[in-house]
Amino acid sequence: MRLFRLLTVLSFGALLLYAASGLPDRGDPDAPPHRVRSIAGSLGAAAYYIQHAQSDANTPNIVTVILADYRSYDTLGEATVIFTAGIICFLLLKRQKV
């Protein structure tokens, strides 16, 4: 059983190593996630954020602008998730009145 688990983990790692060889080089400025326009001509999101964050929101920190302005729905859901987790912990572990 232990050997089976070891084989599962090792084959999973080998599969990931094989898949990682297809990733673009780390640090390559022309990699698909970083480029300004894709081959089809549509705008790349990350480059758009870098170029327009300062003029759209008057804020130099691009991560803050994406977090709270461009993707604020995402952050609202995120805050709801952590709020729900806190409430669930509170309700689960509340000392029961006997």
Binding site: R2, R5, L6, T8, V9, L10, F12, G13, L16, L17, A20, S21, L23, P24, D25, R26, G27, D28, P29, P33, H34, V36, A45, A46, A47, Y49, I50, Q51, H52, A53, Q54, S55, P60, N61, I62, V63, I66, L67, R71, D74, T75, E78, V81, I82, T84, A85, G86, I88, C89, L92, L93
Partner: protein, 122 residues
């Protein structure tokens, strides 16, 4: 070949960390150790995203007035940073709920060891 290694060794370390986390989740008998394995797994995924944001000769995604914002190659990719900022918060939330569930399990069955737990749950 040397370019391939330089471009990919960061991913290999992340994959090593990810298999360690998976091993902890699969093979460890104690539920707290399984939770630690899950946290290592989450940390490796976060590190993978952060590693993929790098651009050589680029700086942090805070606009420097001296550099300007016209050329996107001067700043590393800010989008995965944002996604991982929220992923860290979700990791904290899942860890908190998991600990709450573990405390409930311990109060009911007085053990966190998986075979003993399966015995007592019969």
């Amino acid at each position: 070949m040397i370019d391939f290694v330089i471009g990919h060794y960061g991913y290999w370390f992340v994959i090593a960390l990810l298999t360690i986390g998976l091993w902890g989740m699969l093979a460890k008998k104690n539920l707290v150790k399984k939770l630690i394995g899950m946290n290592i797994f989450q940390a490796s995924v976060i590190m993978f995203y952060i590693a993929s944001t790098t651009k050589w000769n680029a700086t942090v995604p805070i606009i420097d007035p001296a550099v300007g914002s016209a050329d996107a190659t001067h700043y590393i990719n800010p989008l995965p940073h944002t996604l991982m900022l929220t992923a860290i918060v979700v990791s904290v939330a899942t860890t908190g709920v998991a600990f709450a569930l573990l405390i409930m399990i311990y109060r009911r069955f007085k053990t966190l060891d998986e075979p003993t737990l399966l015995e007592r749950m019969k």
